[in-house]
């Protein structure tokens, strides 16, 4: 296999291909997964592309094994990821929780399809929003991103890796069958021009290394297995040495630190798009494939002089509640219309953030067909 090989410039790609390519730019050198529609193309592209850049690819015996292998690879020092869809995402959850408490950077892609259960493998839904947040047991922080286009799938994958490395945590990259399978024109930059964050390595001598000492930023430095550092990793509650503890005070302070490291990163993690919001009276809140219809609806209504805009979530978790509260407090904001392909998983979060400062309504669709611009326009006319 030849050395690093990146095709740059203008390309026609699918969202799943863009995720795979983005992972390579971000420095991902390990993928373990199990085939599942509609995410399989990510594995197929990486099976071919990873060896070309000196990376490792393996189809495992199931999704649980895949997620565990990703944790192992990351602890050994490789940037690692897996990709799946709803049923496989459910299976990975226990290991994702391990990644959260053991603070193991990695990226999990969930290309959403109809659910629950086997649901509709070949069509989109946006019903894993809460699974991304609370899929694994226990009180843990999580970061989840959700692009709405092929080009953004590329960039958000890179951002997912950067955030995973920066905060030493699993990051969920949500996508959906539409974003994953549609093809769009996109520009692939030169690899050196993309900013990449790598996990901070310990500076102390190996015998003084504390694998879970938060330091000034609450994010511990991370040694790799086999680099002269000897350390202990466990899913049990542990102290800064990494060894299990049952001291209630340490358990509380360590769990608080786990949450604090992500809370303090709010500004770094949070990303959203404001589309015609400056004077908007009615604001569509949308994300993923639904945001594409929302953008079209806003454009059409603006042509009719309607003061309509869109707030698009790119970071889903932690939830951008401060940004949404700010929009709700603007004097001209009358209504937030939350459009999503589920029964209101983000609607509830928006209501919590807005806390009655303006009217909030939901537009929901569960038939695995996209919400159309016309549907949104009708909802705003009647609203």
């Amino acid at each position: 296999m030849a050395g690093p090989k990146f095709k740059t410039g203008l390309r026609l790609m699918s969202g799943n291909e863009a995720v795979a390519e983005g992972a390579l730019y971000a420095g991902c050198r390990f993928f373990a997964g199990y085939p599942i529609t509609p995410s399989t193309e990510i594995a197929e592209v990486l099976a071919m592309r990873l060896p070309q850049v000196g990376g490792f690819f393996l189809q495992m015996e199931d999704e649980i094994a895949s997620m565990a292998a990703v944790l192992g690879a990351s602890l050994a020092g490789a940037k690692a990821m897996t990709a799946t869809s709803g049923p496989g995402f459910s299976l990975k959850q226990e290991n994702i929780g391990y990644g959260c408490i053991a603070e193991i950077p990695c990226v999990i892609v969930d290309v959403q399809r109809g659910g629950p259960s086997t649901g509709m493998p070949t069509k989109p839904m946006q019903s894993d929003i809460m699974q991304a947040r609370w899929g694994t047991h226990g009180d843990h922080p999580i970061i989840a991103l959700y692009p709405d286009s092929v080009e953004e799938a590329f960039w958000e994958t890179i951002r997912a890796f950067n955030l995973a490395e920066r905060f030493r945590t699993p990051v969920i990259l949500l996508s959906d069958e539409v974003v994953g399978h549609m093809r769009e024109r996109m520009f692939l930059p030169k690899p050196g021009t993309v900013s990449i964050y790598n996990r901070r390595k310990p500076r102390r001598e190996p015998d003084k290394y504390m694998p879970y000492e938060g330091g000034a930023q609450d994010v511990p430095t991370m040694a790799a297995f086999g680099t002269g550092y000897r350390f202990h990793v466990t899913g049990l509650f542990h102290d800064r040495t990494g060894f299990p503890t049952n001291d209630p005070a340490i358990i509380e302070s360590e769990l608080r630190r786990l949450h604090r490291k992500v809370d303090r990163g709010y500004n770094e993690i949070m990303k959203w798009e404001e589309f015609f919001l400056d004077d908007a009276e009615e604001v569509i809140v949308a994300y993923g494939c639904t945001a594409r219809s929302a953008r079209a609806a806003v454009k059409r209504l603006r042509l009719r002089d309607r003061k309509v805009g869109m707030f698009r979530l790119k970071t889903i978790w932690p939830f951008p509640d401060r940004a949404i509260r700010q929009i709700a407090r603007r004097a001209h904001t009358k209504l937030l219309l939350v459009a999503e392909m589920n029964t209101g998983q983000v609607l509830g979060e928006v209501e919590r953030a807005v806390a009655g400062k303006c009217a909030v309504e939901g537009l929901q669709r569960l038939d695995t067909e996209m919400i159309t611009p016309r549907q949104l326009m009708r909802a705003l006319r009647e609203g």
Partner: protein
């Protein structure tokens, strides 16, 4: 009595030439020959092209999760041991995702006929290697080959504790039908690894490839001899013995439990007679 049409349901959507068509025919024929009615059978399936067989076979059906058919069977059989349960799925479902359940339910000698349609490839997700693919099998995600030994379903079934182990080929329909009948009549964990060609994604293990290699086991094989069965299970790929490798009798799971004696737990009525309740009161008061 029943006839083939009694078991007909939605027409299958496999590729023309798929071995699963033959397997479906054989299964229907076996059910008819045994005089079973659609309402007497429960078919538990998983996920995969082979599992889709379930949609085309009229009977009670549990269309389950990928790899998880057998634990569902356990639930059904413990609640009502009288019902006839078959589990139909493929090599990916039984041996990869469901590998753990396969081993442990054979240890239990769960009373079920396991029909594993083994095409040595993933058809539903379009052409990745399965646990039974050859080590040098190349796919779009195994560009340099699988690099792991193919799983040996018959040998695994034997060492895990199955009490009926057979192997057949969808091209040998008479043999396959007879084996399915034997598996259905067997009390205990019956496994048939059914070699079934995938015409779209496996260009190595084709119909001709299987036909050349599938050779019926001779009459001098003693099916009660586990070591002889293991010898037959460890075939070389040029000569694949088909037929019953092993059959024995062993208590099925539940036989050792007091609660499983007599009528099933779903038929049992809860009766709080004084002589049943008195010992309970004694425990607490």
């Amino acid at each position: 009595m029943s006839c083939l049409d009694d078991f007909a349901q939605y027409p299958p959507e496999w590729c023309p030439g798929c071995g699963n068509f033959d397997l479906l025919d054989c299964l229907k024929q076996a059910l008819c020959d045994l005089g079973l009615q659609p309402h007497e059978i429960i078919n538990v399936i998983g996920i995969g092209q082979a599992s889709k067989l379930g949609f085309s076979l009229k009977c009670n059906m549990f269309d389950g999760l990928h790899g998880r058919a057998l634990p569902v069977v356990l639930g059904i059989k413990m609640a009502n041991p009288a019902v006839k349960v078959i589990a139909t799925s493929g090599d990916g479902c039984f041996y990869a995702e469901g590998g753990n359940h396969f081993i442990h339910n054979l240890r239990r000698n769960l009373d079920v006929a396991i029909l594993a349609s083994d095409n040595r490839v993933y058809g539903l997700t379009k052409g990745q290697a399965s646990p039974t693919s050859a080590s040098d099998f190349k796919t779009k995600v195994h560009i340099e080959g699988v690099g792991a030994l193919p799983l040996n379903p018959a040998a695994l079934a034997l060492v895990s504790g199955a009490t009926f182990v057979a192997r057949t080929f969808t091209g040998a329909k008479a043999e396959a039908t007879e084996l399915i009948k034997k598996a259905l009549l067997h009390r205990g964990a019956a496994v048939i690894d059914i070699m079934s060609p995938c015409v779209s994604f496996n260009k190595v293990n084709t119909f001709a490839w299987f036909r050349q290699r599938a050779k019926p086991i001779g009459p001098d094989h003693d099916v009660t001899d586990l070591h002889a069965a293991l010898k037959l299970a460890f075939h070389d790929d040029e000569h694949i013995p088909t037929g019953v490798l092993y059959q024995t009798r062993r208590p099925v799971f539940g036989d050792h439990l007091t609660v499983m004696q007599g009528e099933s737990i779903v038929q049992r009525t809860l009766r709080f007679t004084p002589d049943r309740v008195r010992p309970l009161f004694k425990d607490f008061y």
